[in-house]
């Protein structure tokens, strides 16, 4: 009567597939943070004024802050709909390890909010008169940084899922851990723009992403169990 219990990978791929399908059917959830990012980053040059030095100087910082806030904006809903319609309960009582499902959620979150930011950033960077060579580094730092942010954010989203209006708390929980990503991300791009090497910053962002990857799925799983009591 009993069949095979699905393994970790099957469970993870299953949830990635389902959430991508959901994102496809409700593109608004994906486009909102992206729109926010594009708006902030294009309005800023209008407010600063046309001085090329100022734009080039503030470009990396503004783009990175906008990206960080856009990620935070999309994190709030990571587990919310699963919590509300009861599918989170179904995941909690699945034989697939919860950390595998949590990692699947983080991966989908990155695919639907981190990756689009990376892909749009070169277009937005034009408004800051960023040279092509520097734009490449902006994309790489965003790529590595948003991976960390998606993973870290899932912990915060899991902790605040049972609370109403948990957005402020979520930001407070995540920001301290996200600070290194912001500092190294923005600074690396600034250094490249000034003609310095980028290796140190990229190594740090890469190492940080690996570090976060090693604990975030487990922390998210534990947080989901606690906040769903």
């Amino acid at each position: 009567m009993t069949g095979e219990t699905p393994g970790m990978l099957a469970g993870m791929l299953g949830i990635i597939r389902r959430d991508l399908l959901l994102a496809w059917k409700r593109p608004g959830d994906v486009l909102n943070p992206l729109f926010f990012f594009a708006m902030v980053a294009t309005l800023f040059p209008l407010a600063i004024g046309p001085s090329p030095e100022q734009l080039e100087f503030s470009g990396p910082a503004v783009l990175w802050v906008a990206a960080l806030l856009a990620m935070l904006l999309s994190l709030n809903s990571l587990f919310l709909s699963d919590f509300e319609d009861g599918s989170l309960d179904q995941m909690l009582v699945s034989p697939v390890p919860l950390s595998a499902l949590a990692l699947g959620k983080s991966i989908t979150h990155w695919l639907t909010s981190g990756l689009p930011l990376v892909l749009v950033s070169p277009v937005v960077a034009i408004t800051f008169r960023m040279p092509i060579s520097v734009t490449g580094f902006l994309m790489i730092t965003l790529l590595l940084g948003t991976i960390s942010l998606s993973l870290l954010g899932s912990i915060g989203a899991a902790l605040t899922v049972g609370l109403h209006r948990g957005t402020a708390l979520l930001s407070l929980l995540i920001l301290p851990l996200a600070m290194p990503v912001l500092i190294f991300g923005a600074r690396t791009v600034s250094l490249v723009a000034a003609g310095d090497g980028a290796a140190g910053g990229l190594y740090f962002l890469g190492a940080y992403a690996v570090l976060v990857l090693s604990f975030a799925p487990f922390a998210t799983a534990a947080a989901l169990r606690i906040s769903n009591e």
Binding site: P6, G86, P95
Partner: protein, 204 residues
């Protein structure tokens, strides 16, 4: 012989209030455990505690003699849950939702279309779950139970929103499941006419 699933001396507080204290039960293949009690007496909480979703004040739930709080994965490989909220994605179709379920728990391998036609939801296959009525959504939740190949069914108010035929169907399916050596824990208000293998827990 120890029971397949047993609860020993369970005590649960919600806030200041004690929902139950020193509660014990034992469940073996072919048996139904019926949780009775008025609204707000803690039937759902007891079921969530048995499912390991709420930590108890004291006591332990044992599956094959092992604590379900420690050996979660083993226990979860053996159960399927029909909760109050059906747990389907409103934007996905019935088939897409049930296909995802196959990634969450083991499947019995029974014919998919046969299960759907038995539950009278085969016409709704391509519709998003959002557009189904509450009763139809409960039937999809029943399909999840039938498609999963697990011995233990947890059913929280399975009769809610179902019409008369639907309620009779739940009884029939449960009886068949028990006859095949399955187990069932059910929280219900109405009388359940299953047969002789019913144990009752009454919550005050």
């Amino acid at each position: 012989m120890t029971a397949k699933l047993s609860g020993e001396d369970l005590t649960l507080f919600r806030g200041e209030r004690c929902l139950f204290e020193g509660l014990s039960f034992a469940l073996n293949p072919g048996e139904l455990l019926l949780l009775e009690g008025r609204n707000g007496t803690g039937k759902t909480s007891l079921m969530r505690a048995i499912g390991g979703l709420i930590s108890l004040e004291s006591g332990d739930v044992l599956w094959e003699g092992k604590s379900v709080y420690t050996f979660r994965q083993e226990f979860y490989a053996a159960l399927v849950w029909m909760a109050h909220r059906v747990g389907f994605k409103a934007d996905l179709t019935l088939v897409e939702n049930l296909r995802f379920e196959a990634h969450l728990r083991s499947q019995s391998g029974v014919d998919f279309d046969e299960v759907l036609s038995r539950l009278d939801i085969d016409r709704l296959k391509r519709l998003p779950v959002r557009s189904l009525s509450a009763g139809q959504q409960r039937r999809v939740a029943l399909a999840r139970m039938l498609l999963s190949g697990v011995p233990l069914w947890l059913m929280d108010e399975p009769f809610t929103n179902l019409d008369r035929e639907g309620r009779a169907l739940v009884m029939k399916l449960t009886r068949e499941h028990l006859d095949e050596g399955g187990m069932c824990i059910m929280a219900a208000h109405q009388d359940v006419d299953i047969g002789s293998n019913v144990k009752k827990v009454v919550l005050q």
